[in-house]
Structure formats: C-alpha cells, structure tokens
C-alpha cells in the first residue's frame, strides 16, 4: 500500500529525532539539517542507514546528499560559488530539491541549507513511487 506524503513526513521526522537527538517540534518541513538541526557529516550516513531500514529502500552513495563530491571540482565551483556547469550538475543530482532560491546566489556556504526535511521527504516519496 502506498504511503501518503503525511505518513512519509511523520516517519522521516521520527528518523531525524532519533538520529540527531532533536525534539520532534524542531523537525519542521522547512528545517535545514545542518543549520537548524545540527547535523554533522557522519549524521548524514546515519540518516541514510535509518531511512533505508525504515522505508525498505536502497539509497546509493551520494544520491541523497551529493554536495560533497561537487566541492572539489574547480570546473563546478569558482570563487566560492557554483558555476553554470556546477548548477546544472547540482540540478541533475538533486532533482528532489527546489533550487530556485539558491540559484540567485549559488554560494557554496549556503549549499548546506539545501538539505532540508522537505528534500528528504521528496526523495523518499520519489523512491517509493519508483519502486
């Protein structure tokens, strides 16, 4: 039986409460994982493992949180901002994330803000409907 978006959100919230030790009222749909919820790099792997178990899906390396691999490529990043090519790459890798605000000023320091609760819910929703 297909899960509704609300059900997915509720499960994602539970995963984040357990993985990050935050209160459930902090895990709003627009909360950012790093800025608002204090996630560090190892937490992203923890979250991936927990989502895989919770939803019975396989999440390939880099698919849900692909930013790190972009950071080291000088064609994709210039002067602390993503280039056109970098943005195109990011769009390709993060189809589950709304990038319109970020594209106005693609500062890599703001890339962390792209990882929101909403992005995870979108990702899981796509993944479940493709299954």
């Amino acid at each position: 039986m297909a899960m509704s978006r609300d059900e997915i959100l509720q499960q994602v919230q539970e995963v984040l409460v357990d993985a990050l030790g935050v209160d459930d009222d902090e895990v709003t749909i627009e909360a950012t994982l790093m800025g608002d919820l204090g996630a560090e790099s190892i937490d992203f792997l923890d979250i991936v493992f927990r989502l895989e178990k919770r939803f019975g899906i396989k999440i390939p390396r880099e698919e849900l949180f692909p930013a790190e691999s972009l950071m080291t490529d000088s064609e994709l990043i210039h002067n602390g901002k993503l280039t056109e090519k970098g943005l195109a790459e990011l769009r390709k890798r993060m189809p589950h994330t709304d990038l319109t605000e970020f594209e106005k000023d693609p500062d890599i320091n703001k890339m962390a803000d792209l990882f929101t609760v909403n992005a995870i819910v979108n990702y899981v929703e796509n993944k479940l409907s493709a299954a």
């Binding site: 792997l45 390396r61 790190e68």
Partner: protein, 171 residues
C-alpha cells in the same frame, strides 16, 4: 621500528563470531584495574565510558573483520548509550554486537551488555571507514587500526576465528 596497532585492549576474548553479522565478547572486571580505586574510593564501579569502549572494540573488530581488516575503522558516533545497572569488580560482562548496516564508507551496529542474563547497557554505534570519507583527506597508508602481523587483538579471536591467527603468525 615495529609499530604496534590498537595497543589498548579492553575486552578479554570473543566467544562467538559470525562474520559480517554478530559477535559476542567477554570482559572480566577486576579490582586490579587501577582506575576502580578512584572511581570511586570505597565504591568501585566500572565507568560507563569504559563500557562504551568495550562495546566499541567488540563492534569495531566485528566491522573490521567484515572488510577483512583492510579498512581503517574509526568510532564516529555513539548513537545510543543507556545504562541499567552498576558493574563491579568480579563481574563478567558479555558484550553482544550486531551489524545493522554496512556500506563502503561506514557501518552501524547495535549492542547489548549483559551480566548473567541481566541487561546492563544498550549501546548503538557508528563506525567510519575513514579512507572513504572526509572528502579525500589523506591518512597514513599504513592501517594504524588493524596493522598486520603484530596485532595483539587477533589473539582475542583465538577461540572463534582460528584462521585469523594462523594468518598472522610469523612464518
């Protein structure tokens, strides 16, 4: 100069070892451990952080063996650590670790510490394979966690994985 790897051993031996899945280790707690005289004077109890260490070694070796000791396995996160009872000198602890998830860059484990069927602690951990992480930062080529040949920790596996010992014995 020979390097010693993982020189601080905090468990006594493995009693069960199911490669890539589950391991059980044993630790005897003794008043010969000096820190127990200060923790606390007249009331020696095992510090909880050292129960986490014992579980980290049990689960860490389980995770290391799953990749044939080729990865540098580092404790990256204590996901959960809940304690239910004191541990005192003379106690024999059983540490049971299970691999929950395993990926090229990391692994997560769940674990229980018991003393004659009484639950002492639940400790869930995450380990990082550091060469696969941290955006290409370079670490020494030598495996400083599980070195070859001289590692003391392999004797821990003597009862459960005899082939590991044979491999490490000098020819």
């Amino acid at each position: 100069m020979p390097r010693r790897n993982m020189r601080w051993i905090w468990i006594d031996k493995f009693t069960e070892f199911d490669s890539g899945k589950r391991a059980v280790a044993l630790k005897n707690v003794t008043l010969a451990e000096e820190h127990l005289h200060d923790h606390f004077p007249g009331f020696p109890v095992m510090p909880e952080c050292l129960m986490i260490e014992a579980m980290a070694q049990t689960a860490g070796i389980l995770v290391g063996e799953a990749a044939k000791f080729q990865e540098k396995v580092i404790l990256a996160k204590i996901k959960k650590a809940v304690f239910f009872d004191y541990v005192k000198p003379g106690d024999t602890l059983l540490l049971e670790a299970n691999i929950e998830s395993f990926a090229p860059e990391a692994a997560s484990t769940s674990g229980k510490i018991t003393r004659t069927d009484r639950l002492i602690a639940e400790i869930d951990l995450m380990f990082s394979h550091i060469d696969q992480n941290l955006a290409g930062k370079e670490f020494p080529a030598e495996n400083f966690v599980f070195g070859s040949g001289t590692s003391v920790f392999e004797s821990l596996l003597r009862d459960v994985l005899p082939e590991t010992i044979e491999r490490s014995e000098p020819v």
